[in-house]
Amino acid sequence: MRRRKFLGYAGAVTAAGGLTLFAGWWRVDGPGAPAPSGARPLPLTKMEFKLTDHEGRTVGPETLIGKPTLAFFGFTFCPDVCPTTLSDISGWLDALGEDAERLNVVFITVDPERDTAEIMEDYVAYFHPAIRGWTGPENQIARAAEGFRATYEKVPAENGGYTMNHTASVFLFDAAGDFVSTIDYHEPREFAVPKIRRAMKEETKEAT
């Protein structure tokens, strides 16, 4: 927890310092460019964590090697961003048609306290069938988030409960497990499907 907080502060300082550079980068390369090197997720082959999918199977980064992957963090008690992201992804998968079967799509909870495997199973059932829900012990979720360079934080809510702040971007990896790009939350939807196709093309390149 403390480490994450520290990472958060370090991130904030870096963000402030690099704001000018960042703005330039944003304008020059646009949101389609790879993330800045500091924030670039590790290749899946360099990540290490062990989670459980919504059907109770043990899963980890190695589960995702062999097919291109869409991965994102969220939680099922999230009323706005998460169902929106899940429905956006369901829409992209519908647009990909049968090609969607050539993808791994994983929704990793940042709220394992409430999101048990059973809860994840109930929740993902409302969205595209390709979407897998992953949960596990808090320390393993933390390791996963570190690998993806994602952040999350528990925030007390006024009604005595809590909510979670979290990275809402969708991460794209190729079939070899290398990071390709992110699809950011506010990005126009028409950019998403071409980006996914690009990640899938790298798979073909890899294969031939």
Partner: protein, 153 residues
């Protein structure tokens, strides 16, 4: 003749009355309201709509009331440069004359905390917006699928 004159006068009076009434919260029109279905009652729900101020004075939404949820509140989701999303109560929401405030996914939304019953697709519920001038606007909100992306898609 007398009757016609009467109806003209009545019409004039009516139009004067309506133009006088179309100020403050009486000039608020709510459109495209929708909500997502919930799974049970343990998670908060969310509702979206466009709130248009057709009048010539600023109006302020001070709160929400519905029998569906014990704690309905307008919340704002914001996403920073690093892609981190957070959510917080938006407080009072001001709408300038002729302006529209959109409650839409990823921005402002009516957060429905402590649901009293599940939000079922195909049903609807009523939500009342409270304004600083004491006015109220009641909206009937259709509940769409949990994977809905907008008032219609």
């Amino acid at each position: 003749m007398k009757q016609m004159l009467f109806s003209v006068v009545a019409g004039l009076t009516l139009s004067l009355a309506t133009s006088a009434a179309h100020a403050g919260s009486d000039a608020v029109v709510v459109e495209d309201a929708w909500a997502r279905a919930s799974i049970g009652t343990s998670r908060p729900g969310a509702a979206y709509m466009e709130i248009r101020n057709t009048g010539d004075e600023t109006v302020t939404v001070t709160g929400l009331v519905t029998d569906l949820a014990k704690m309905p509140e307008i919340h704002r989701t914001s996403t920073d440069d690093r892609g981190v999303s957070s959510m917080a109560p938006a407080g009072e929401v001001e709408i300038a004359p002729e302006a529209t405030v959109a409650l839409e996914p990823g921005g402002l939304h009516a957060m429905l905390m402590q649901l009293q019953r599940p939000m079922k697709e195909g049903e609807s519920f009523s939500l009342t917006l409270l304004f600083s001038d004491g006015g109220e606007v009641r909206v009937e909100i259709p509940i769409r699928s949990i994977s809905a992306r907008g008032p219609e898609d």
